[in-house]
């Protein structure tokens, strides 16, 4: 009853969905087959349902779908470039930072948001960015190493040689 139409941009695609007044964003995303958005605790503790809302990580289990109207969402499905993984995803694989994988989409998204803001984060900043995603398999050490390595790759790729020299001179 009282469904409303919302318009969202998910992973660059425009989508229009009919949502019920009490529907949560997590439920709608999974209904729409964005299964990389994981259902965990549903009380905002574990962070497995994290998505980027206008570039910032939020827990989709605590947000009403209606509140996403007009906003831009990024889920793990939108991180790779076609068949090519994002360097951050590659780094997670290279460092063995994935075990059962349930928390991995959220870890990638939360640290991606960090890298957009801070190209060269400290280990503390990486740990802080991961602090809202609970991993019950292996821990955080390998994900932290992966993110720090990805930051190096990204900034090396982003800067042409002249800019790197200029950076060094400062």
């Amino acid at each position: 009853m009282n469904e409303r139409e919302i318009h969202v941009t998910v992973n660059g695609d425009t989508r229009s969905w009919s949502v019920a007044p009490g529907e949560l964003l997590l439920d709608v995303l999974r209904r729409e087959a964005y299964w990389g958005v994981k259902r965990g605790c549903e009380t905002g503790e574990c962070g497995a349902c994290a998505v980027l809302l206008d570039g910032q990580p939020v827990n989709s289990c605590l947000m009403f779908a209606a509140q996403a109207d007009g906003r831009r969402l990024l889920t793990i499905e939108g991180v790779a470039h076609g068949d090519r993984l994002d360097p951050l995803q590659e780094a997670f694989l290279d460092h063995g930072a994935v075990q059962c994988g349930y928390c991995t989409p959220a870890m990638v998204l939360c640290t991606r948001a960090l890298l957009e803001r801070r190209a060269d984060p400290t280990e503390d900043e990486v740990r802080e960015a991961l602090s809202g995603v609970l991993c019950r398999c292996t821990g955080y050490r390998k994900p932290v190493e992966a993110v720090l390595a990805a930051a190096k790759t990204r900034s090396a790729a982003a800067k042409p040689k002249s800019a790197r020299r200029k950076g060094a001179a400062r």
Binding site: E23, G44, Q56, P57, L62, F64, Q67
Partner: protein
Amino acid sequence: MFDQLRAFHRPTTIAQALRVFRTERRRGGRGAFVAGGTDVVVVGDRRLRYLVDVTNLPLRYIRRRGGGWAIGATSRMADLEHSAQLRRFADGALAEAAGTCGSPQIRNMATIGGNLANASPACDTAPPLLALDASVVVAGPAGRRTVPLDRFFRGVNRTALDGGLLIEILIPAPPIPRRGRAAWSFQKLGRLKSDIAVVNAATGVAVDQSGRCAWARIALGAVAPTPLRARRAEALLVGRVPDRAAIAEAAARVAAELKPVSDVRGTADYRREMSRVLVARALEECAGRLGRSS
């Protein structure tokens, strides 16, 4: 999860929000205002029949006003935490407290208005706001009223809102004595930084040019049904140089003003003792900051 909701409204003005809330209330059933959802959804009250979302209201701002501050109620914890101006104000006590309100994702969603309106005894932004003599502006059918924060909290999850909508937080310019100065501190005890507080505390100390305390503010959370000011302990400091002995005396006095409960996070005795420790730590930090700036 909220299958029983008949309506989810998204007004864009305060007047509209109040009007739609009133109309829904007449239709019957329980309703609420919602912003970040980090309390409303977690509590998951199945009796709710309608929600009025306030995140489309123009209430997301942090502005200087008359030497003090006006903060819109839907400002996110992350907005406060990252505000360069707020981090410089009152030794960053409020920005620091906002930065401990849950995980990064929670801080991108949770609003300062929601944090206060939820009236958790452990609300992290309350102690610094109490120490800063803050008030809240409540909009209701009969108009707007300003309620000092120390009269806003009425009990666990109970406030003076009375069906109104919290729209703004006002912080007056701190009354710093002529040729004197002031310092603030925020302290929190939890298992991790972003956990719910076992005890939290904020203090403010102003000294005159002779170095004597002109006024002190000591506010605590999670040690009574509401966040509170420890006024008798504050009074002990006035007129004295805030040295180690004066601080120890004031911190010891705090325990007498509290009504802590025992729960999974700590016993009442533990909370009382940690209140003393945290207040001493906060006052020492204030004294240190006052000493350094002289």
